[in-house]
Amino acid sequence: MSEIFYKEAVRDALREEMLRDERVFLLGLDIGRFGGTYKATQGLWEEFGGERVRDTPLSEAAIAGCAVGAAMTGLRPVAEIMYIDFTTIAMDQIVNQAAKLGYMSGGQARIPVVFRTQEGAGRSSAAQHAQSLEAWFAHIPGLKVALPATPGDAKGLLKTAVRDDAPVMFIEHKLLYNTRGEVPEGEYTIPFGEARICREGSDVTVVALSRMVLRALEAADRLAGEGIRVEVIDPRTIVPLDIDTIVASVEKTGRLVVAHEAYTRCGFGAEIAAQVMERALYSLEKPLKRVCGKNLPVPFAPVMENFVIPGADDIVRAVKELL
């Protein structure tokens, strides 16, 4: 094991996959010599050159569409959309083209494209740079969706994403790039659809996404001091979703909190809740709780931003209310 930054984990995964398979290439805004806005591609342009680490004009629809076309014709592009908020401009290519063409061509097309992007609040970036939009993509049949919370998961899941023959939305978190964590030595991948039980516990299940995993663990630590044992689960990919692990945990604890930064309404927490109720309604001792972003645009001023994005306190409170 070695400890590295999340941004290094992303870079290492890209690098290893580019070395392994010459069809893999990168395209996006300022990913070359500049190394990406969050420095997740630093050094790759120097190593692989501008043919395989391609800076593009400021044209998200063209970035996404070009990646789809290249993927349909034998390459394996990783397209970076700088902020998930800007996928709006690329949406036709992601939703109507990448997600559909394989199917509509009767299986002729394989579209092995990865759309790398990042989401999340916490930097006073205001409402057009702080959203968490994973549920939009999870809604679309034909897209896989990964949300790594740790460097180890970022590396292992990204390598899997690159090797997958389906389009993958790979969603990083802007406040995780400079977090550190352990990464196994040598070659490894992490399969999609396998949740990680980050901490075992028997009183309450907390299912958290992306950076909220760290907050859930913080909450669990604090609650442990009061003798409350929280089980924290990170699904890691929401399409495919490892509902079995979540249901098994709920059957054990009888209590569920779902936590993410994305807006509560129609957030992915609602899908998890629905699936748990379909499978394990009678295991729930109390109605489940969602600790999610308020249904508001993310405001600029830090005091208001903190108010709309949940934190460890909110998870602690929700857990206690369930006991």
């Binding site: 806005t37 004009p57 400021l58 205001a126 409402a127 057009q128 600029f300 208001m304």
Partner: protein, 333 residues
């Protein structure tokens, strides 16, 4: 390679422009300069949250364009928008308060540096989505035309934004409907780290006007008088029903993309060359040579602007922070 029409030399002001106008341009540039210098300091000492995209070096562009607009004309702005909205008449104190995230800011702390708007001044908003404001401006121009209000619209955007599909669609639509709009491309040479030469294979964005069937004019964006003259012509044409104009102001952003980006991708000589072409001293020399202003008067204006900016900082610092629950206000859905 086709050449865009030549620079409009400031000398075209042979029939002299009114002194008030020339002095106004100067004061506007100074207000932008001082506001931006101060904002950068405050950002670096972490008094200001969020991102800051500095307009330092580009002052003549906003000043020249907005001086040719009426108070009720519209603009849309960008992530690098402080200069545009100052030139369109905003007060520095309420702007600074917005940068501080205070309740007295133009957007009550909900928008911040990248989203300043004041509809009462025709400012339909800065925008965090590159190219996002351009189609909105076309809509405002359509509305002005349908309401026969005589208003025109200036939409500011960068060289990078001209690669967005939204620009193409908006320009074409504005042309089809002969709308009263000015597409003002501020070519500061870079989109983040990407030089404009890597974003397009023509020397000037202005050349693209031809493909939409309206004039495309490039102008020295560090010369406020040249920018003003080109803009006035375009405004006149737009008001008279002549349709859109694309104006490309050639300029340079002094700092990196955002405050904190050292801008290492730029050759040192390039940065030095553009700094030597600082629009402010250059224009001050012009004013002095023409006898419009003397040294003493210029110095006095500097003092006033300095005090205005300090007062703005004081205003912002002493303004109340929003309450967390204020996030729930101004919201309808």
């Amino acid at each position: 390679m086709p050449e865009a029409p030549p620079l409009v030399a400031a000398e075209r002001a042979a029939h002299p422009l009114p002194a008030d106008l020339l002095k106004g341009l100067h004061r506007t540039m100074l207000r932008i300069r001082r506001f931006e210098e101060r904002a950068v300091e405050l950002f670096l000492t972490q008094e200001l949250p969020g991102f800051l995209h500095s307009y330092l070096g580009q002052e003549a562009s906003a000043a020249g364009v907005c001086a040719a607009l009426r108070r009720d004309d519209y603009i849309t702005s960008t992530h690098r928008g402080h200069g545009h909205v100052i030139a369109k008449g905003l007060q520095l104190d309420r702007m600074m308060a917005e940068l501080y995230g205070r309740t007295t800011g133009y957007c009550k702390g909900k928008g911040g540096s990248m989203h300043i708007a004041d509809f009462s001044r025709g400012i339909l908003g800065a925008n965090g989505i590159v190219g996002g404001g351009i189609p909105i401006a076309v809509g405002a121009a359509l509305s002005a035309k349908m309401r026969r209000s005589g208003q025109v619209v200036a939409t500011f955007f960068g060289d990078g934004a001209s690669s967005q599909g939204a620009f193409h669609e908006a320009a074409n639509l504005a042309s089809c409907w002969t709308l009263p709009i000015l597409f003002v491309c501020e070519n500061n040479q870079y989109a983040v780290s990407t030089h404009c030469g890597a974003q397009m294979r023509i020397p000037d964005v202005a050349l693209r006007g031809a493909s939409y069937g309206f004039p495309g004019i490039k102008v020295d964006g560090n010369d406020p008088v040249a920018v003003y003259l080109v803009t006035s012509d375009a405004v006149e044409r737009a008001r008279a029903g002549g349709g859109p104009t694309l104006i490309e102001t050639k300029t340079y952003k002094w700092l990196g993309h955002y405050v904190g980006d050292p801008g290492a991708y730029r050759p040192k000589e390039e940065v030095a060359g553009w700094k030597a072409n600082d629009p402010l001293p250059r224009y001050e020399r012009y004013l002095i040579e023409r006898g419009v202003m003397g040294e003493a008067e210029i110095e006095a204006v500097r003092g006033e602007v300095h005090a205005e900016v300090e007062a703005a900082v004081e205003f912002a610092r002493s303004s109340p922070l929003p309450r967390p629950e204020d996030a729930l206000e101004d919201f309808y859905a």
